[in-house]
Amino acid sequence: MAGLELLSDQGYRVDGRRAGELRKIQARMGVFAQADGSAYIEQGNTKALAVVYGPHEMRGSRSRALPDRALVNCQYSMATFSTGERKRRPHGDRKACEMGLQLRQTFEAAILTQLYPRSQIDIYVQVLQADGGNYAACVNAATLAVLDAGIPMRDFVCACSAGFVDGTALADLSHVEEAAGGPQLALALLPASGQLALLEMDARLHEDHLQQGTALSPFRDGSFEARKHRWAPHRGRSTLTVAVLIRAVFEICMTFQFKKYKKVYRDLLKRCQPLACHLTHYYV
């Protein structure tokens, strides 16, 4: 295999999508009766299941209880059959622990934890099939499960990943694209306020690629402006890759058909016409 061509000269990716297009998304809420909330999501071939218990009293050591808010406890695991080669342990390895921590940070930012002092909310996420964008799928599934459980949130959280190949940002990476080893960004967003719950990049990307400022200038006047220093690593320059991500995240929001966000999204799209022009919007 002489190195797969991730982005052909005609602008197609390995699986036939164009650079900004997402994989097919399907979701279902309330899949388990005994849990307080549950959801199942498929993003392309990535399949994840999320279950929420709580808020309930602290289990285990009571000393961990927080006096002013609820404790969010997240556990991430991957089914042994989820990857091409069988895994030994479904959870407990370093990667899973880190992922759990990231999920926890994300949801602590989103759930109104101060309403439930001295109590605990458990979120269990399991990846059934891993085909890239595991974190994003887990966040999206967990959001739906939290909603299903009826726990109040500031806003729901929505996440997506993006990569960078030959000067082009690719939205929603599949496993093949992830395995190629390019830089990769993951973003979790509170769409209504435009706040970022998490932005993570685990490789080096040249500043120039992040600084293609004009592409995101429409965001400058909106709510993104106020918080830009939080998520743009380089002195508040807006970023192309991030722009693709944000748009992708909003597209995911739309699949959930939250009517209230439709307007926000339309406004955003209108303001970033140059970005959106070549994209077909199935969901609006």
Binding site: A2, Q10, D15, G16, E21, K24, N45, Y282
Partner: protein, 1055 residues
């Protein structure tokens, strides 16, 4: 709306296990069809390259055809080709990156009428692979299905021909759909392109080569070479430092034995190796060819070998002469090839006798490449005998470890051996220079300028540009007869007393827009190629010789740089860049300008612009011009002095030469006393280049194209120091300033050649100046060593260099930075620019080689017909400029020839001289010292040649069938050769040179004329014999056809 499907793949992991992988596959209702017949172009998003609309059919090659016959599909005559994605992927997976990149470039090439159709992403043309269906069957089936869909998509208006090698497919699909024909490739060529001879021949030779390969792989036994290691092992080895990566360079003079690997970038950093690595022998070279990127493994120290310093003839001397080689250097063997750098090779078939001696297998023939560094290539062809007297292009297909020589196939005929056109074509192919005439599409973009429809200044442009027509006296100084005037100068006094110096460069980018056809073509050519007797322009002549050329008396667009200088100190106060419109008042040539400068005004009568004027205005105008030239010279002297103080070098053949290059003269023939105007003009150009470099670098710190000249390694100067010491001069090479100073001092009043040779040695020790992108290296590396400037670029000759066009675009973007963003978007990114720089540097090198080789060709043709024993012209005065163990290298100033003269001949006799100085061969021995060589005969006589000695040499030509002829020198007297007549001709050696070129051209023309005459005579006789009428009779028509069918050799030679 995307539709999701799934594809199941079974892949094998590195551990050897099979893994079942499910991949998504998204289909869409419309992908670009890129056909002009598309009923809904908007829905298909046809925004890229379209197929042309004047074809009679579309042709869709099957995957196998794309894999095997891509070279034929590259013919520009074949139009309307649709490559299916399935076929392209098959190439990518099975033929590797090289072949695939070729296909990609073909698709990108705007001049070639072919497109890619992404059939696997199209909802209706995609077919999933069925269970148990073989990959090959499925590929053919999907391509056929896509062809049918495409036919219906174009509303059945264009017949489609699918060409395949699969007999079953022809049977099965042949008559399934009306309008979609399935035929074999051979059949297709026969039916649709019967007149395309070259394609047919290529097809035959590919077929035969493939058959041979298959046969061979069956009878695969004894291995000639070790296998190459797999790629992963190589990469890991390079990383760990066990192997070293580099480019293979074969020694031209000992192609069978010596090759060197020049280290590349990263690998040389951590290892302490500084020199190249020697690869000794064909076995160790392990099937790599000159120019390949190879991976070598170092041998243990006790197996290291030294390089040989003896002169050696280019015959296949496998036996190394008894000389002891120099001290051992790192030696290695090739373990793998990372990148094959195969190109087209010019070869010669063996003569009849040799064919017979090659014996049993008459089908396979070993042909000898023109380039010594390339091994012999095995060709299988039936036409061997017919092609005997021709130079032929071949391509290498493969080199199995079982075979001593690589396998190749025949591509096309260039011309007869020894024929001027054939040999020139050889030089072009060998340097990968393609100079097809400009295409029609390109000519359509060109503005018109005919007497009926003259080109005019656009009023809109007039408004945007600064008008210099009234205010400035602009003139150009160029060599006599120059057509492409890209630079003009002006100088005037401003109101505040300061001076204003202006350099005006033709505005080529106004006519050549980014990514237009002419731009793409110019980018591929990268430079105008100057050969000894002709040139190949980068831009069509309408631009290069007319609309872009700043001719006298006509309005032209220009890009100008203007400086305001202090009236006394000539300090630069202000600088301005911008687009202008101007009219050059005078088109001067160097000699005339020099005469004006010297106060010799009689030359005015030779300048056409003055002829029309009456006496009074003529005088006023003349004084104005003389003042301007004088002022210009003052400024240039001043600037030059400033640069000199920083250590600018004046060298033979570096930057200065390029500046003077438009004279079409041959580069090793610099006039002995360059006129001062030469220097004045060159200095102004250097100044402009320098300031433009500063400007574009400031505005685009990461993507400006500059030119650097890295400082040389000190160890390369050791030879220069030794030679200078022999003459009693000391060379201080620590910096460019000290080097320049000591070169100036090293002047022998009795022999001006000494200084010239020393300068050329200094040049050889230095690396070449190259273009680079500022984003690719650190700022302190930008320095130009030779010119002693911190930043330098090429800006002043956009008509003949593509780099200047890029710089012009950069400068335009820099000065219009605020208002126009779209200009900036057209600029190259640092990565692309780096790629482009590499390409331009490459082409420049090729241009230099081609020029040098063509000069040598003319020299050889000149001396070929002369009998060296009788002809007086073949005897000349030479200077020894280098010493080798068995001979000396001699420079002949009269002809500008450099060559080797042996002191020991093939029978191991050495040279000795009688009393009167005449030489003869006697048995004896040679002894080499640092800067002299002594030959001692058995009788005890001895003679010593030392550096810079003048000797008399006889020039003869050593003819070679397979390679270029070479000049041979023989020392016939150890005294300088002096006759008054020679002195005379020595004075105008430049004239001599041009005469040489002219004479060769003339004799070639005469020969052609004679041939034609003979033919005419025969025809005349035939007229009489057969009582034919004159004029275009059927006979002459047939005769013409026979002439045209040059390639069809079999008819001529009756095989």
């Amino acid at each position: 709306m995307l539709q999701k499907r799934e594809k199941v793949l079974h892949l094998r992991t590195f551990q050897g296990r099979t893994v079942r992988i499910v991949r998504e596959h998204y289909l869409r209702p419309s992908v670009p069809c890129n056909s002009p017949l598309c009923p809904q172009p908007a829905r298909c998003h046809n925004d890229g390259k379209l197929l042309s609309s004047d074809v009679t059919h579309y042709v869709i090659p099957d995957w196998k055809v794309v894999q095997d016959y891509l070279e034929i599909l590259e013919f520009p005559e074949l139009k309307g080709i649709i490559f299916m994605q399935t076929a392209c992927q098959a190439v990518q997976h099975q033929r590797g990156r090289r072949q695939y990149n070729k296909l990609r470039n073909l698709l990108k090439d705007a001049r070639h009428d072919c497109i890619l159709f992404a059939n696997e992403f199209q909802q209706y043309s995609y077919l999933p692979r069925e269970r148990g269906e073989s990959m090959e069957k499925w590929q053919t089936r999907s391509i056929y299905n896509a062809a049918v869909w495409y036919y219906h998509h174009c509303q059945d208006r264009m017949p489609i021909v699918m060409v395949t090698e699969d007999e079953e497919a022809i049977q099965q699909y042949g008559s399934e759909t009306e309008g979609v024909f399935v035929i074999s490739f051979k059949n297709y060529l026969d039916n649709f392109w019967p007149e395309l001879k070259a394609a047919h021949e290529l097809c035959d030779s590919i077929l035969q080569a493939r058959r041979e390969r298959e046969l061979e792989s069956q009878e695969n036994n004894g291995k000639e070479y070790p296998e190459h290691l797999p790629l992963e092992v190589l990469e890991a080895g390079i990383k760990s430092g066990r192997y070293i990566q580099g480019i293979l360079n074969v020694n031209k003079h000992r192609a069978q034995i010596e090759a060197f690997v020049r280290l590349q970038g990263a690998s040389s950093k951590d290892s302490d190796l500084i020199s190249d690595i020697l690869v000794h022998g064909m076995k160790a070279r392990n099937r790599s060819i000159h120019g390949d990127v190879v991976v070598v493994e170092l041998l243990p120290k006790n197996e290291w070998k030294g390089r040989t310093a003896a002169l050696c003839e280019n015959e296949n001397d496998d036996k190394t002469p008894g000389e002891s080689p120099s001290e051992p250097m790192p030696t290695g063997r090739v373990v793998g090839i990372l990148q094959k750098n195969w190109r087209d090779y010019v070869v010669t078939f063996p003569s009849k006798e040799e064919v017979q001696s090659q014996g049993k297998n008459a089908q396979k023939i070993l042909v000898t490449p023109w380039d010594y560094r390339i091994p012999k290539i095995r060709i299988s062809t039936q036409q061997a005998e017919a092609l005997q007297d021709f130079r032929v292009v071949v391509r290498i297909d493969s080199w199995e470890s079982t075979s001593v020589y690589p396998n190749g196939h025949f591509v096309r005929v260039l011309g007869r051996i020894g024929d001027l056109e054939g040999e020139i074509a050889t030089i072009l192919v060998e340097n990968s220079i393609s100079v097809a005439p400009f295409s029609e599409a390109q000519m359509c973009e060109m503005p018109v300028n005919t007497p009926e429809n003259p080109w005019k200044v656009n009023p809109e442009e007039e408004r945007e540009r600064i008008d210099l027509r009234k205010t400035h006296l602009v003139f150009s100084i160029d060599p006599k007869g120059c057509e492409d005037v890209d630079d003009a100068l002006s100088v005037r006094t401003l109101n505040n007393g300061n001076l204003e110096l202006g350099v005006h460069i033709a505005d080529v980018t106004h006519f050549v827009t980014t990514n237009s056809y002419s731009d793409i073509e110019a980018r591929t050519r990268a430079t105008t190629y100057y050969l000894a007797d002709r040139r190949y322009d980068m831009l069509p002549s309408i631009l290069s010789a007319d609309l872009c050329s700043l001719l006298g008396g006509v309005d032209r667009y220009a890009v100008s740089v203007m400086w305001e200088l202090d009236k006394n100190s000539f300090e630069i106060k202000k600088v301005w860049y911008g687009r202008t419109i101007l009219q050059s008042a005078y088109k001067l040539y160097y000699e005339a300008a020099q005469d004006l400068l010297d106060g010799n005004v009689s030359v005015v009568d030779d300048i056409p612009e003055f002829r029309e004027m009456d006496e009074k205005s003529r005088r006023a105008k003349r004084d104005e011009l003389v003042w301007a030239i004088g002022k210009l010279t003052d400024i240039a002297r001043h600037v030059r002095a400033k640069r000199d103080s920083c250590g600018a070098l004046e060298l033979e053949g570096v930057e200065v030469r390029v500046q003077l290059d438009d004279k079409k003269n041959i580069h090793d023939l610099i006039p002995k006393q360059p006129l001062e105007v030469h220097e004045t003009v060159a200095e102004c150009m250097i100044l402009a280049n320098h300031w433009v470099a500063k400007k574009i670098w400031e505005n685009f710190p990461h993507q400006a194209l500059l030119r650097q000249h890295p400082p040389p390694h000190q160890e390369f100067f050791s030879e220069l120091r030794e030679c200078a010491k022999a003459k009693g001069f000391s060379m201080d090479t620590r910096s460019n300033k000290t080097l320049a100073d000591s070169l100036d001092h090293a002047n022998d009043p009795r022999d001006p050649l000494v200084n010239r040779i020393l300068r050329s040695m200094a040049t050889q020790a230095m690396s070449n100046a190259v273009y680079f992108s500022t984003g690719s290296c650190a700022e302190d590396e930008f320095h130009h060593y030779g010119l002693a400037l911190d930043k330098y670029t090429h800006f002043t000759s956009p008509i003949r260099r593509y780099s200047d066009i890029v710089v012009h675009r950069l400068l335009m973007a820099a000065i219009s930075k605020d208002n126009k963003t779209e200009i900036k978007e057209n600029l190259f990114s640092s990565k692309d620019l780096e790629e482009l720089c590499r390409h331009i540097n490459n082409r420049n090198r090729a241009a230099q080689h081609a020029q040098k080789q063509s000069t040598e060709l003319f020299q050889c043709m000149y001396f070929k017909d002369k009998d060296p024993e009788i002809e007086e012209r073949c005897i000349a005065d030479g200077v020894i400029y280098s010493i080798r163990t068995n001979g000396v290298l001699v420079f002949i100033p009269r002809f500008g020839i450099k060559g080797a003269a042996y002191l020991k001949n093939k029978d191991s006799l050495v040279i000795s001289c009688r009393q009167d100085g005449c030489s003869e061969w006697k048995p004896g021995s040679l002894q080499r010292f640092q800067n002299k060589i002594t030959s001692t005969t058995v009788g005890g006589e001895s003679i010593t040649f030392s550096l810079f000695d003048h000797v008399t040499v006889r020039i003869s030509v050593q003819a070679s069938r397979c390679h270029a002829d070479t000049i041979r020198l023989e020392i016939i007297r150890n005294k300088p050769y002096k006759i008054s007549e020679t002195e005379l001709s020595q004075q105008n050696s430049l004239l001599m040179k041009n005469e040489l070129v002219k004479e060769v051209t003339r004799s070639v023309e005469e020969a052609q004329l004679a041939q034609e005459e003979a033919k005419v005579r025969i025809i005349q006789e035939d007229y009489q014999e057969y009582c034919q009428t004159k004029g275009t009779s059927l006979y002459t028509l047939l005769e013409e056809i026979r002439d045209l069918a040059l390639l069809d050799l079999s008819t001529n030679y009756g095989i």
